[in-house]
Symmetry: C2
Subunit: 314 residues, 2 copies
């Protein structure tokens, strides 16, 4: 039995085909056992003590031993400030001074400092008059696009509106016009009421396996309150740190050390706040798209969100 | 220096950032040396002699030794004919009886038979009244989504219009409305005139590195004449076989045995023919998208199409 499902936040089309999971290719890319490496690596440009490899810090948090997190300009930026048709900044945010850190083993405190840095850099870059949108993302392991092992995230400000954000905003606005209700409120209420896809429901965040997604294994963290990312309070960051800690511990137990991407979808500069809630997409890179997806823009899924949520929830 | 480029057939947005190619992660996935394996593999369901593994042939071409190519129903179909909201057929087309065949070593004659099969299955599936679109694609190697080694392509008929096709059609129609000229004619003329991105220009096909594409290394073969795929003549198939043979030989010399996807973008059932020319996308899977691309729908490229075309042209 096949079924067409539509992702409610971006209208992605997914054919749900349960039997396909029996195919050999649908086997998960196995995570390697965690590689034990040292806290400091002499040749790593992102390690504490090796600051001479990189440019000056744009931001850092320090303790008595030195910096814990820091943000620096990316040496190979996607955008720069040398022309006007595509303008922006691109920084690398070092998640932790520990070379052997990863989302799978970072402490709540480490996540907290990292998220404080996310907020600082975001608030700083979104202020620029030329900037329309600021994108925060992380690539973990080479399969997910990472070029260096030391744990790091990235932030890119852009003078243009990204089409994927434009699409999500458009859909949320159309939803409001049609229903006189907010899309994200309705999703949050539905998920909390039906319960079955909820991984965690805390005061300010709802963590779910989305009803439909083109990325098998995707997890979303929705901000329940309608605030801009730069207005997130330290108390909320605390809460989010605890969610990150527990979520990635559970993911590691289930999948091992697998590649993933994580990115924040936040408000573009000039959008009316109401239509759109900040949310975080977490995409394990366990499956690869083939020619069908690349050719049609239709995706195929064979895993019931409920089954996945059951495994991860906390 | 960064530059915004727009793919003229689908409006994909690409930031051209030449410097990025110096990053460690932009290294090409190295192709393995060609694995010498035998023509027949006892446990392969797609090998000649092992037909009992699979369902009956929907189509085959035979010589005195048995079948050379055959098409069979996919055992794990993306779509089936059991319901109406998403209806279709999904066949596996075995490119050649040779287990050790691949696009990198197939003869012109093998390509010819394979393409005859593409045409037969396409013509057959597009006739079905419920079908809107028929997608032909191939996944080569696991990185590109292949599940079995024996060389095979796939064909899927669909009762729904794929969004990526809808977008290409929409753009070509808008172009006509605005310019009173056909987009594909203009692209073909421009490419032939400027020459620099042309890989091969034959009587009925133009093979190019597109000016802009989200997939680094993509090659496109454009049908010069505006015909539906089911109306391709055997003479054209001959010509296309020769192009495939030379193109993939050259790609093998440059990159080795790397994964790729190939897919045909053909006319949906009811579209006016004029707006849109059939074309083939060939996508080497050498690079992986990271969180920036997944998050924004903006892509980054650092290779000049001209430089790539120079290496491959014949």
């Amino acid at each position: 039995m096949k079924e067409i499902r539509i992702d409610d936040i971006n209208n992605d089309i997914v054919i749900f085909a349960k039997d396909r999971s029996r195919r050999p290719m649908d086997k998960v890319i196995k995570g390697n056992e965690e590689c034990i490496i040292k806290e400091y690596n002499k040749s790593c440009p992102f390690c504490r003590g090796n600051e001479y490899y990189t440019l000056e810090s744009k931001f850092k948090i320090e303790n008595e031993k030195g910096w814990i997190v820091r943000s620096i300009d990316n040496k190979f930026p996607i955008v720069d400030n040398l022309q006007d048709n595509i303008y922006g900044n691109h920084e690398v945010m070092i998640d932790t001074y520990r070379h052997n850190g990863s989302f799978y083993n970072m402490t709540e405190e480490e996540f907290y400092n990292m998220l404080l840095m996310y907020k600082d850099r975001y608030s700083n870059l979104i202020k620029n008059k030329k900037v329309q949108y600021v994108s925060i993302f992380k690539n973990y392991l080479r399969e997910a696009g990472a070029s260096l092992n030391h744990p790091h995230s990235q932030i890119v400000s852009l003078s243009i509106m990204p089409p994927d954000i434009e699409r999500e905003i458009y859909i949320s606005k159309q939803y409001y016009i049609k229903n006189n209700r907010y899309l994200y409120d309705d999703i949050i209420n539905e998920e909390i009421n039906t319960k079955k896809r909820v991984i965690n429901n805390s005061e300010n965040f709802l963590t779910i396996v989305p009803k439909t997604t083109k990325y098998t294994g995707e997890i979303r963290i929705l901000f329940k309150k309608n605030i801009k990312f730069e207005h997130i309070r330290n108390k909320d960051i605390r809460e989010l740190s605890s969610i990150f800690k527990r979520l990635f511990s559970n993911l590691f137990e289930i999948n091992g050390d697998i590649p993933f991407n994580i990115f924040i979808h936040s408000h573009p500069k000039d959008i009316e706040l109401e239509y759109f809630n900040v949310h975080i997409h977490i995409i394990p890179r366990m499956y690869r798209f083939g020619g069908f997806e690349l050719s049609t823009g239709i995706y195929v899924s064979s895993i019931e969100p409920k089954d996945l949520a059951d495994k991860i929830k906390f």
